[in-house]
């Protein structure tokens, strides 16, 4: 009994307490932003943000005067478009990588890995010129294309690891029953790796939703995702922190919630390679 109790206190001291401190560090800034967002603008520079007299004033202003809803729609369209492009192109590619042996396999797989590591700054300048030349600046399409530079290679790698987890014997069985390769892919493989596809899609959605530099460079007046919209709330002379943090809370919400939903599957996909390596 005595041992048990001292063990309990030891655990509190060596595990729970440090964990709480780290969580405070991790969540504190976000919490502070929330507190700021429900404080009146006039209070911020006098007594400071607080939960006393909490108000939704900033949120109302954000939608009524700034038109934040349009920005949310822009972000949503860009992110969903990127998910559609990324997934549709990568499913067949990942299947080919997983199931066939062909001469250029190694080269092509390495290529998709390397793309993921090119500095964004290397691509952003020519993409701007390319989109200007195509007349696509300030359209959703331009942002979808730019985000796909990251989404395609990433989803190919994730999908390969999911499809590798499905035994080859299953598609072979389907093919002996008279399915063609593509039918086997559609009827057997896709349903089985649906959870993986969903997780990959959600991850692409989050990264596109969070993306800022492409949105800033290739977007503009017509198409302005929330990441750019929030930043433009910084005025020349003064910053309306209440308004800005309300925008931040709303802008961060979808990504945070989606991430919590799929984090287990996603992390297992991400770390699978790393743990083996």
């Amino acid at each position: 009994m005595a041992v048990g109790r001292s063990g309990f206190w030891k655990r509190i001291l060596t595990v729970d307490m440090p964990m709480v401190l780290i969580l405070l560090f991790a969540l504190g800034p976000y919490f502070w932003m929330f507190v700021t967002s429900v404080s009146q603008e006039s209070v911020l520079f006098t007594t400071g943000p607080s939960l006393v007299n909490a108000t939704l004033e900033n949120y109302v202003r954000l939608f009524e005067t700034i038109g934040f809803a349009d920005n949310l729609i822009d972000s949503f369209l860009v992110a969903s478009g990127t998910v559609a492009v990324g997934l549709s192109l990568s499913v067949t590619a990942a299947y080919a990588f997983s199931r066939f042996d062909f001469r250029a396999k190694r080269l092509l797989m390495t290529q998709f890995l390397v793309i993921n590591m090119f500095p964004l700054v290397l691509l952003i300048l020519p993409l701007f010129i390319l989109m200007r030349w195509l007349g696509l600046l300030d359209t959703h399409l331009a942002l979808i294309a730019a985000n796909s530079t990251i989404a395609i290679p990433f989803s190919i790698w994730m999908m390969v690891s999911y499809i590798n987890g499905i035994p080859k014997s299953l598609d072979e069985a389907a093919m002996t029953d008279g399915c063609s390769r593509l039918q086997a892919l559609r009827r057997v493989i896709l349903p089985l790796c649906l959870p993986g596809i969903v997780a990959t899609g959600i991850y692409i959605f989050i990264t596109s939703w969070n993306e800022y530099l492409y949105a800033l460079t290739l977007g503009g007046r017509e198409v302005r995702p929330i990441t750019v919209a929030v930043q433009t709330l910084i005025g020349e002379y003064e910053v309306q922190w209440g308004l800005l943090s309300a925008g931040g809370i709303i802008g961060a919400m979808p990504a945070a919630v989606l991430f919590l939903l799929v984090q287990k599957r996603l992390i297992s996909g991400l770390t699978q390679g790393a743990v083996k390596g």
Partner: protein, 301 residues
């Protein structure tokens, strides 16, 4: 009859050889168009003088832009900051991430909640992270100053981001905050892949906790750690959005890094030739790590 049969198998054999390429071609073609073509274009631009508001004045300067960069004081300042920035951010993220992972690997009742919440900083949009920290660091009304003043650590409010001496350090703290959860979840996955029996055997042999950590835990996670460090190095190097939003490189040049410098050259000065040259130089530097990473991944391919 026999003839038709052999035709069919030949067709099959051909199909089998072509099919993988057919299935890959959409993805490959699109990446050629949106990644490789632009990349070549950057290289091409870097060999020219090209200023966006003088579109007709696109002329060949060979390696002129690169020579200019190597003689450019700001280039070397940015280079130095890039080294400091990466050299401190990554180890800090790793240490904090390792500590977090070791804690999360212990048994305590609220572990699932802690594990879910810890990831939050990593999931948030960088701009929002950057703005949030600008507000925290605010010299007059920021909570960081208030906190430190109350504890008596500083005597008067410090303008964290406006002071050249503290700006880079402040940004590094923000980046550490943003990235440590990634290490935590990666390392945690590594920890959980170590078989329990190893620890049991070591306990029976009377090995202390420290020795167990040194001889079982560390070797068990070393693979994940190296991969995570390389990935993170490459990602952190690529992401300059946090710096761009927090200080825009200032005050003066005190938070300039190479990718940011390239971006600002092109965006503000519209000097696409010189900006491209810096981007190419930076990419070449980064390639060292990319090659390391590829060699590790080779085994998987």
């Amino acid at each position: 009859m026999r003839h038709r049969f052999s035709d069919k198998t030949e067709l099959h054999a051909l199909g089998r050889r072509v099919l993988p390429y057919a299935m890959l071609s959409p993805a490959v073609l699109v990446t050629l168009a949106i990644v490789f073509f632009p990349m070549l274009q950057t290289t091409w631009m870097s060999l020219h003088e090209y200023i966006l508001f003088r579109p007709n004045d696109f002329h060949w300067v060979g390696l002129g832009n690169f020579k200019a960069a190597l003689n450019d004081e700001v280039f070397w300042i940015s280079f130095g900051h890039t080294l400091i920035w990466m050299g401190i951010t990554i180890p800090a993220q790793l240490l904090l991430g390792l500590t977090t992972a070791l804690l999360l690997n212990q048994n305590f009742p609220w572990r699932p909640i802690a594990r879910a919440l810890i990831i939050i900083p990593w999931a948030l949009p960088s701009v929002i992270i950057a703005l949030m920290w600008v507000w925290i660091y605010d010299s007059n009304y920021g909570v960081a100053n208030e906190f430190l003043l109350r504890l008596g650590i500083v005597q008067k409010a410090v303008p964290w981001l406006a002071n050249p001496d503290t700006a880079l350090a402040s940004i590094i703290l923000t980046l550490t905050w943003q990235g440590f959860p990634f290490f935590a979840v990666m390392i945690l996955a590594g920890l959980q892949s170590i078989p329990h029996s190893h620890y049991e055997a070591a306990s029976i042999d009377g090995a202390s906790q420290l020795r167990q950590f040194w001889h079982i835990t560390l070797p068990g996670i070393s693979g994940v750690v190296v991969t995570a460090v390389l990935l993170r190095l490459i990602w952190v190097a690529n992401s300059f959005d946090v710096i761009f939003v927090m200080t825009g490189g200032g005050p003066g040049y005190s938070t300039y890094t190479l990718p940011l410098y390239a971006f600002i050259k092109a965006r503000t000065n519209l000097d696409f030739g010189y900006g491209s040259a810096i981007a190419v130089l930076f990419t070449l530097l980064l390639m060292v790590f990319v090659i390391f990473y590829l060699r590790r991944m080779r085994r998987m391919i």
